[in-house]
């Protein structure tokens, strides 16, 4: 077994591009679910909106990239409003079903042949829509050390991405420790009590949905830019579920926990995958048990099992406070 390679791959993934994407998606969910108690199962839709908003204006309409970012934020606000108006008055499980349906609508429209010319159909969009962004890249060569390895472009994405995460975490920290943040938590714990104080709960929930959605869309920006392509099927319900896993792993209703959760999540995924892969190729694991193509399936099985066990035995996650978040305020 090549332990150096495993270490390199695992550590690079732990602070890599995917970690940034999932951290952003989970920070958005933390706003929705952790602080306001909204069971949003359509976070993948927000990421898809962000990703397509970066790619489509640049590729199909020839707009500059910074305009595309503004369009992406605008679109995610609109999407949040569209989701929120019918559902925020409903009970938590209705919200879950409607948001999951809405995210699926976004994906199916994006992949449909009907809008092939602008949205690229099931193949998505691949092209140099991030050229403006990578033109700013000061790194001429990538990083290649025994423990970390990034290409020049990835290095630039990782550095800007973590800066973005740091900025958003800072804003989140200010927000949730303000009177506004305390009101959000009060809504999570007891909506009716907040209503009796004369607050417009509906409006506050909408604000939460919009803010979390915009943060999710930022995750979509990173997703699209880092790969220079947008594939509709990457934005399925599984993305939302994994973002929840990240959030619950770290512990909901803690500012830093989505970031730590994402790092642990990707550390475990890549580590387990590399170990299994090496085990299979070096014939340490017999072929009848796990074939070379079945490694990623084992990985997903463990992920599902992990989510179950986590929820059963430690619903507050690694850093969460059980007292703060009973996870059942709405049920």
């Amino acid at each position: 077994m090549d332990f150096l390679f495993i270490t390199q791959q695992t550590l690079s993934a732990t602070i890599g591009v995917n970690t940034i994407i999932f951290a952003l998606a989970a920070i958005g969910l933390n706003m929705h679910f952790g602080y306001t108690g909204l069971l949003n199962f359509g976070q993948a839709g927000f990421l898809a909106i962000g990703a397509y908003s970066v790619a489509v204006p640049v590729i199909s309409f020839g707009l500059p990239l910074w305009v595309a970012f503004l369009i992406g934020i605008f679109n995610s606000v609109i999407f949040a409003l569209l989701l929120g108006v019918p559902t925020l008055r409903l009970r938590a499980d209705y919200l879950a079903i409607v948001t999951i349906a809405a995210a699926e609508i976004v994906r199916q429209i994006a992949r449909s042949a009907t809008f092939n010319s602008t949205l690229g159909g099931s193949d998505g969009i691949t092209g140099k829509f991030g050229a403006d962004f990578f033109a700013l890249n000061p790194f001429k060569s990538g990083l290649d050390t025994p423990i970390l390895r990034f290409s020049a472009n990835d290095l630039w994405v990782v550095i800007t991405g973590w800066s973005l995460v740091a900025f958003i975490v800072f804003i989140m920290w200010i927000m949730v420790n303000s009177p506004w943040g305390r009101l959000m938590r009060a809504i999570r714990e007891d909506e009716d009590a907040v209503r009796s104080l004369g607050k417009n709960v509906y409006l506050y929930k909408m604000q939460s949905l919009i803010i979390g959605g915009v943060i999710g869309a930022c995750g979509g920006f990173v997703y699209a830019l880092s790969r220079q392509s947008v594939q509709p099927d990457n934005y399925g319900t599984a993305l939302t579920f994994f973002a929840y896993t990240v959030l619950i792993l770290g512990g909901a209703a803690r500012v830093f926990s989505p970031v730590i959760g994402a790092m642990i999540f990707w550390f475990l995924i890549v580590f387990i995958e590399q170990i299994l892969r090496q085990g299979v190729t070096n014939n340490l694991i017999p072929d009848w048990l796990i074939g070379a193509n079945q490694v990623s399936q084992i990985r997903f099985m463990l992920m599902g099992l992990g989510l179950m066990l986590l929820m059963i035995y430690r619903p507050q996650g690694i850093f969460g406070d059980k007292k703060e978040l009973a996870l059942d305020a709405k049920a």
């Binding site: 938590a92 997903f300 066990l309």
Partner: protein, 433 residues
């Protein structure tokens, strides 16, 4: 996570089957592949058949690929065409629609070009062009009649699964995201019992329902959900547990079964019967009739039997029901078994009509949720009404919108109805908050 490759290739008869399979195909990251000998060059191939399954010779297929690769071939007497390729990359094959005989056309005119990504040499890729009776030929009346029938059949399948979900939700409050996997398990059991163990399908199918009810109902409740209820795990926590369980099961099924869609050894390519305006296969008639009896039986159970009444009492107020001497855990167990049996039967119907794949349940799950929500969460009749509406709407909407967007239409209707009537069609007002 970046894998996304789709070979939309389906040549299955009734519209609703190909519809569901369409979703299976577009969401599946896998493709139909047959391993070939390493020394033989890789080829793209396919068989062009008409709606009755007969080969169509002399149809031109042109293939283009990377580095200016291009080839033109025609199908032979068996309808077979093949193009050997030497390099990896993205290929696309286009069928010459003008070569098709009178009365035959692509079921989806948009799909005259099929894409294929060759990742690995030595693995032959099979490309399918779904061909059916020319769509333009059928009159609006005929199409509406056929789509109505297909919609009712689809609604029935959704309804069987939705009733179980709704009953379980009603008595335990669990929003079960792993409900779709009950369908998949039953489908896999049917496949294993018939294709591997060699039982006739007519015996394998009921056996799969019984096994499904036992495993997905009795065992699942006993070893997973009952202990969680004992622990006092909250409803949202249980919802997340069910998501984890669904992910685990889905990839477990993929692990043991593989990513392809497989047909049962019997009745796979059954010819349809003409009844006036509509066309229906005998197996559809049989399975749907039994399905209707199943639904009626379940409703009677709820309305007439002691256990059924007790289950409604538990749904209404568990504490009061318990205080009046009802064994709540026993009622919940019964509801789980019934719900799992209904969903298993839905899985058997889907398997019989369009084959089984590990994604089968997941693809149905959103429709099931939509139906239950539309009818009103936790109401038994609402689930059935909601399912019929969803089924009919999905099929009939294809008269006006592209087939590939029909699920979008159904989901938009779900959201719109929730705006106007948040409690669902038959739901009680108190259920929302």
């Amino acid at each position: 996570m970046t894998r996304s490759l789709n070979l939309l290739g389906l040549s299955l008869p009734a519209v609703y089957r190909s519809a569901l399979l369409f979703i299976i195909a577009i969401t599946s990251p896998f493709f139909l592949a047959t391993p070939a000998q390493a020394e033989t060059p890789t080829k793209l191939y396919g068989v062009v058949t008409d709606s009755e399954g007969a080969a169509i010779p002399g149809v031109g297929i042109s293939v283009v690929g990377p580095d200016g690769f291009s080839a033109n071939v025609s199908t032979d007497e068996q309808g077979l065409w093949e193009v050997p390729i030497l390099s990896k990359g993205g290929f696309s094959a286009t069928i010459n629609v003008d070569d098709l005989p009178e009365g035959q056309a692509l079921t989806d005119p948009q799909k005259s070009t099929v894409k294929a990504n060759v990742f690995m040499l030595g693995v032959d890729l099979r490309l399918l062009f779904p061909i059916g009776p020319g769509v333009a030929k059928a009159s609006l009346l005929e199409r509406s009649a056929q789509l109505t029938l297909d919609g009712i059949l689809l609604g029935l399948v959704i309804g069987l699964a939705a009733l179980g979900l709704s009953l379980i939700f009603g008595t335990t409050g669990l929003t079960n995201f792993a409900h779709g996997e009950i369908l998949t398990l039953a489908g896999l059991l049917t496949y294993y019992l018939s294709a591997i163990a060699g039982l006739p399908v007519l015996i394998a199918a009921p056996l799969a329902v019984i096994l499904g009810a036992f495993i997905s109902g009795y065992l699942q409740d006993r070893y997973l959900w009952k202990p969680l209820r004992r622990r006092g795990t909250g409803l949202i926590a249980m919802l997340v547990v069910s998501i984890g369980f669904a992910i685990f099961l889905r990839y477990f099924f993929l692990f043991i079964f593989g990513g392809d869609t497989r047909q049962l050894p019997q009745y796979a390519g059954q010819a349809g019967l003409e009844f006036g305006l509509v066309n229906i296969t005998p197996k559809s008639i049989l399975t749907s009739t039994i399905g209707v009896f199943f639904l009626i039986g379940a409703t009677l159970w709820l309305l007439r039997t002691r256990m059924g009444k007790a289950s409604r009492a538990v749904a209404d107020n568990p504490a009061l029901a318990s205080a009046s001497g009802i064994d709540v855990q026993r009622v919940i167990r019964a509801v789980w078994i019934l719900g799992a049996a209904l969903a298993s039967y839905a899985g058997v119907i889907v398997t019989l009509n369009q084959g089984v794949s590990f994604l089968m349940g997941q693809d149905m799950l959103l429709l099931i949720f939509a139906a239950v929500t539309l009818g009103g969460l936790g109401t038994a009749n609402g689930a059935i009404v909601g399912s019929l509406i969803i089924g009919l709407f999905i099929q009939l909407s294809t008269l006006f919108i592209p087939t590939e967007l029909k699920y979008v239409g159904a989901l938009i209707v779900l959201i719109l109805i929730l705006v106007i009537r948040p409690q669902g069609i038959l739901g009680k007002k108190e259920r929302i908050g």
